[in-house]
């Protein structure tokens, strides 16, 4: 099946891209990897007049780490680069793991995390981990940039907070405090090349006593129109002491806050039953990492 014809531009610099995007943004789509975009075009769900190819813009590529700022991942960075990056593996191993579970190897070498996030599918692989990390998005605006916590980015099913003329420029993952860790849990029917029936990013931070939960983020995917945090549960869990009661409250809480539907991949009932299992397993993974970190220190 073929979509409608479209124009194609490949700007040579970020400046050129920004002026082209300012001028033609309304009927244009940004082509980063195309792994979602071309599916939509071929299925005739999208008919952009122009594709602006940013896949080779050097200003939008790269991963860096600064002890104060944390991890910065530019929007044009390929998912496979994130998966393999030593910096990501060190400072955000759960993100490297999520990246490794996105699509196939071929897809990961084409796709970008920015595309995965801007596509705003509730089943997407990377948003739960980014939410767990408390990631900040750097958004390019006409003539400047602004930042936005990722928790305010997903407005509705496949709808984001990007305004006309804006584009996603970079991800900033703040440095993890002491006694904290992030985990990623996912469930699909098979073990690779899946759109998850459920996924979850889990952030856990312990107080200096090592047993009191000082902060927690539980970001759920595939249980609602967007990936979102179980904020009520997070509030209730803060200040609790680790233990069976805490784990049970976490599992029950996310199940309560999940609003899944029946679809091709799983039923709402199944999702409700298993989301709590993911929370529990994710928290156990975090505890194991925190324990390891302490052992080394």
């Amino acid at each position: 099946m073929h979509g409608e014809p479209f124009g194609y531009e490949k700007p040579a610099s970020l400046r050129e891209f920004e002026s082209l995007f300012a001028e033609r943004g309304e009927d244009a789509k940004i082509l980063a990897g195309g792994t979602d975009l071309f599916v939509l075009i071929k299925e005739r769900l999208l008919a952009p007049r122009l594709l602006i190819d940013i896949s080779d813009l050097p200003e939008l590529r790269g991963i860096s780490y600064d002890p104060g700022e944390g991890l910065t991942i530019m929007a044009g960075t390929k998912v496979a680069e994130i998966e393999r990056s030593a910096l990501v593996r060190e400072h955000a191993p759960a993100l490297a793991f999520a990246a490794a579970n996105l699509g196939s190897n071929q897809v990961r070498w084409m796709a970008t995390m920015a595309g995965n996030v801007c596509h705003a599918s509730p089943a997407a692989e990377t948003p739960p981990v980014l939410l767990a990390h408390g990631c900040e998005l750097v958004i390019g605006t006409p003539g400047g940039e602004r930042t936005l916590p990722i928790s305010e980015f997903f407005l509705a099913y496949r709808k984001t907070a990007l305004q006309a003329g804006e584009y996603l420029k970079a991800f900033r993952l703040p440095p993890l405090p002491a006694r904290s860790a992030v985990a990623y849990q996912l469930r699909g029917l098979r073990r690779a090349m899946e759109i998850d029936m459920l996924n979850m990013g889990i952030y856990l931070e312990l107080a200096a006593d090592g047993v009191t939960v000082s902060d927690i983020r539980l970001a759920m995917g595939s249980v609602g129109p967007v990936t979102y945090r179980a904020r009520g549960t997070e509030q209730r869990l803060k200040g609790m002491r680790l233990g069976e009661e805490f784990m049970a409250a976490a599992g029950a809480g996310v199940a309560e806050e999940a609003t899944p539907i029946d679809d091709m991949r799983a039923s709402a009932a199944y999702r409700n039953r298993v989301i709590g299992v993911l929370a529990r397993r994710g928290l156990e993974q975090c505890l194991e990492q925190i324990g390891k970190g302490r052992g080394e220190a």
Partner: protein
């Protein structure tokens, strides 16, 4: 045994075409580009059951670049693989019977133009009730899909009754009754169907096609195009798998030929993956109600089978598969009371058909599950019960099927020993279990699909000093490696290197007749034809060599590129010198061979279906881990022991067995074509239709038991369809062992497992 000392047979030869395939250089049908070639595209119905009120192609015809537009009424001849009851036409006429049915077609200068032309074809439908469930289709007031069908939407019915089932069940120590349901699954071969058709100035039609059965495509193209077969040639480029799905003419092939005739230009029609799901011909979902009896010692007393097969919209291989399902009940266990009662139903979905191990996979799932249950009821190991009932080296079934050679018992014992089944069964911790199951399959059929007495396979070998060895045989290599197998047999016979044999195959003009690649028939049937041709060649060549060497011809052998006396080492000459002398004296050196399966004498029952020259056997042990919190089933270990006779190429046998297991594992755990109530396929793509990935596949250990069928070419039997039979019940028996729940519906999703575990917990709480 002297006959089992081979120099080429039994070695791990690498296929000649493998490197080119790995590099992406092999030429598949879709790679063919001819001068002036057009792209053909098909317009599919967007409703599942409707009368066609009108088709307006005028706008499409006006579009620049469109060279032909075709509708069903232009090719009204019906066709079908079973010629007595054809049900299909190249494009729908008067009615559509499933969502996605081909209704019209265009040929245009490029794909984009063809796509636009399809959008311009306007079809008006009058909607009819849609039946995606066979029970709904069988209701008294249901609208028949095929108005000329005798029994409403019941396409075919069959009853068979052997022994006295009622008496045997009444006298049984234990009788188990269960209902099983299998799912709607597709083959998922890598290469979608593709065909290029071209007419030459003489009016002759050439078809390049991705088919398993050039011969049957040849006959059906002749029917549909109303042309003598002699004016049609079918040739098969590299094929990317078939598994039965390319086992009859498909619409794209006939449409390509019709569009080419209309446009007077070559036309290619290649399916998208979605269209492969429309063409389908995958496994029939069957609802099987089965009663099975057993005596005190664990001997099976009777099988009473009641089945409803969901056939989809058309006849296709349906009636054959219905009878195969019946035949499959009789082996690999000794059973003398068997009743079979089944129907195949027309429903508004893509047509079901032949799929790897056809007829066997569904009943095997049910029977091997029930045998486990019966064994456990008797406090016996399933291994003991299965071994007790397994057939011996030779066997005659009550249905009249003769098994000339079986090592099934060895398969059971080997796989049990190699997997540690007895040490693990009922002894692993909750959530982990092992399951045993056995199975078998035919090695070719004894009868053709149409009445005929001609040989099923034939081969022609030519030896000459310029071209070397040329082996021509109509057998079709669809990726299973038949070219390699036949070349290895020819090379072994002539005592020449495997690499020196050039095979010309899969062509109705350039190679002598063969029925096609289905029913695991090629190794035995085409193999026998090749062996006969090679023996005849030697019978001509050896006397010439004997004169030169100076000894008796019957003391000469061919080997290592020489012809030599089996008694005196020094009496020898190079093979090719002998060929040259023969040709100098007598002219061209060629020989043909053919194979006709043995016909059964005496009384046989069951529409001749199920009879085969010989049978392959196999037994599996699966080990699974069930995540009791999420319901996921992970296959963590897999053992197989198989009797495929003498493996011609052990590496290829291993590939066939592993491929079978992975395919069936997908059907056990993941795969299912899902339909909306209106008959639309929800997941016609490989993103949402889920086959196992490398991460899901366990380490599979295969083992070929010592076996040699003395009546087969080089002792060989099938290896490509038997091994798919036991996988589903092996996995489900393992799940039973792991969590104590018997599942009877496929696929076994985490959702079903979790539900069953909760139900089990609830019931245990009650008791």
């Amino acid at each position: 045994m002297n006959q089992r000392k081979f120099s080429i047979i039994g070695t791990d030869k690498v296929r000649k075409e493998a490197p080119a395939k790995a590099r992406g250089e092999a030429i598949y049908t879709d790679d063919i580009k001819l001068p002036r070639m057009l792209i053909g595209k098909i317009k599919h119905s967007d409703c599942a059951h409707a009368r066609i009120i009108s088709i307006d192609t005028s706008e499409a015809e006006k579009l620049p670049g469109v060279k032909a537009v075709l509708v069903g009424s232009e090719a009204p001849n019906k066709y079908g693989i079973v010629p007595q009851a054809p049900t299909e036409t190249a494009l729908a006429i008067g009615k559509v019977r499933f969502h996605g049915e081909p209704v019209a077609a265009v040929a245009a200068v490029d794909e984009a133009t063809a796509d636009r032309a399809l959008d311009l074809i306007k079809i008006e439908y009058e909607l009819l009730p849609v039946y995606i469930d066979p029970h709904a289709a069988m209701a008294k007031d249901a609208v028949p899909l095929h108005e000329d069908n005798k029994y409403g939407n019941i396409a075919y019915m069959a009853k068979q009754d052997f022994g006295d089932v009622d008496k045997a069940l009444a006298e049984s120590h234990r009788v188990l009754e269960k209902t099983f349901k299998t799912s709607y699954v597709n083959h998922v071969f890598m290469e979608p169907h593709s065909c290029v058709a071209r007419f030459d100035d003489n009016g002759d039609l050439m078809m390049w096609s991705s088919t398993q059965v050039p011969h049957y495509l040849h006959t059906m193209a002749s029917q549909v195009l109303d042309m003598p077969m002699s004016k049609i040639q079918v040739t098969v480029p590299t094929v990317g798998g078939g598994f039965g799905g390319k086992g009859e003419a498909s619409n794209n092939e006939l449409v390509a030929a019709l569009l080419s005739r209309k446009s007077l230009r070559p036309v290619k029609v290649t399916y998208s993956r979605k269209e492969v799901f429309f063409q389908h011909r995958g496994r029939h979902p069957i609802e099987m109600k089965i009663r099975m009896g057993v005596d005190r010692e664990g001997y099976l007393t009777a099988i009473d089978y009641d089945g409803i097969m969901d056939g989809g919209a058309y006849g296709a291989w349906g009636i054959i598969i219905l009878f195969y399902t019946a035949a499959m009940l009789h082996l690999p266990y000794k059973i003398t009371n068997v009743r079979f009662n089944a129907k195949r139903i027309y429903t508004n979905k893509p047509t079901c058909g032949p799929m790897r191990g056809l007829g066997g996979v569904q009943p095997r799932f049910a029977l091997e599950s029930m045998m486990d249950d019966l064994a456990i009821m008797l406090g016996m190991s399933p291994y003991e019960l299965k071994l007790k009932n397994a057939i011996d080296g030779k066997h005659d079934t009550v249905s009249g099927v003769h098994v000339r050679h079986s090592e099934y018992k060895k398969c059971l014992t080997e796989v049990v020993n190699r997997s540690g089944y007895l040490e693990k069964h009922q002894k692993l911790p909750f959530g982990r279990g092992v399951g045993l199951a056995g199975g078998y399959y035919i090695s070719g059929t004894a009868y053709t699909l149409y009445m005929s007495y001609k040989p099923h396979s034939s081969a022609l070998i030519r030896l000459d000093t310029e071209s070397g060895v040329t082996l021509q045989c109509g057998a079709t290599d669809i990726g299973q490696g038949s070219n390699m197998v036949l070349a290895m047999m020819c090379a072994e016979k002539l005592g020449l290197p495997y690499e020196s044999v050039h095979v010309i195959s899969g062509d109705t003009k350039n190679a002598p007749f063969d029925l096609g690649s289905f029913a695991s028939r090629v190794t035995v049937a085409a193999g026998a034809a090749v062996c006969e041709a090679a023996d005849k060649l030697l019978a001509q060549l050896l006397p010439v060599a004997a004169v030169h060497i100076g000894c008796r011809a019957d003391q000469l052998l061919a080997g290592n590129g020489e012809i030599y006396s089996k008694f005196e080492k020094e009496l020898r000459m190079p093979f090719w010198d002998a060929v040259e002398k023969y040709i100098d004296a007598f002219g061209p050196l060629t020989a043909t061979g053919s194979y006709t399966p043995p016909r059964r004498t005496g009384e046989f029952k069951g529409g001749n279906v199920g009879h085969s020259p010989t049978y392959g056997f196999t037994a599996h042990v699966a080990e699974v881990e069930v995540d009791t919190e999420t319901g996921e089933v992970k296959v963590v270990g897999y053992n197989e022991a198989g009797d495929c006779g003498q493996p011609i190429n052990p590496l290829s046998v291993e590939g066939q067995v592993e491929g079978s297991i992975v395919m069936a594992m997908g059907q056990a755990l993941y795969e299912e074509i899902r339909l909306a109530p209106d008959g639309r396929i929800i997941n016609p793509n490989l993103h949402d239709y889920k086959v196992p990935t490398m991460r899901d596949i366990p380490h599979i250990k295969t083992y070929a038991v010592d076996s040699y069928d003395p009546d087969s070419p080089f002792g060989a039997k099938e290896a490509g369809e038997g091994p798919i039979q036991p996988t589903i019940p092996a996995i489900l028996n393992a799940v039973y062992d792991a969590i104590g729940v018997r599942f009877t519906e496929l696929p076994l999703t985490p959702e079903k497992v979790l539900q069953a575990l909760e139900e089990k917990k609830r019931q245990e709480g009650l008791s």
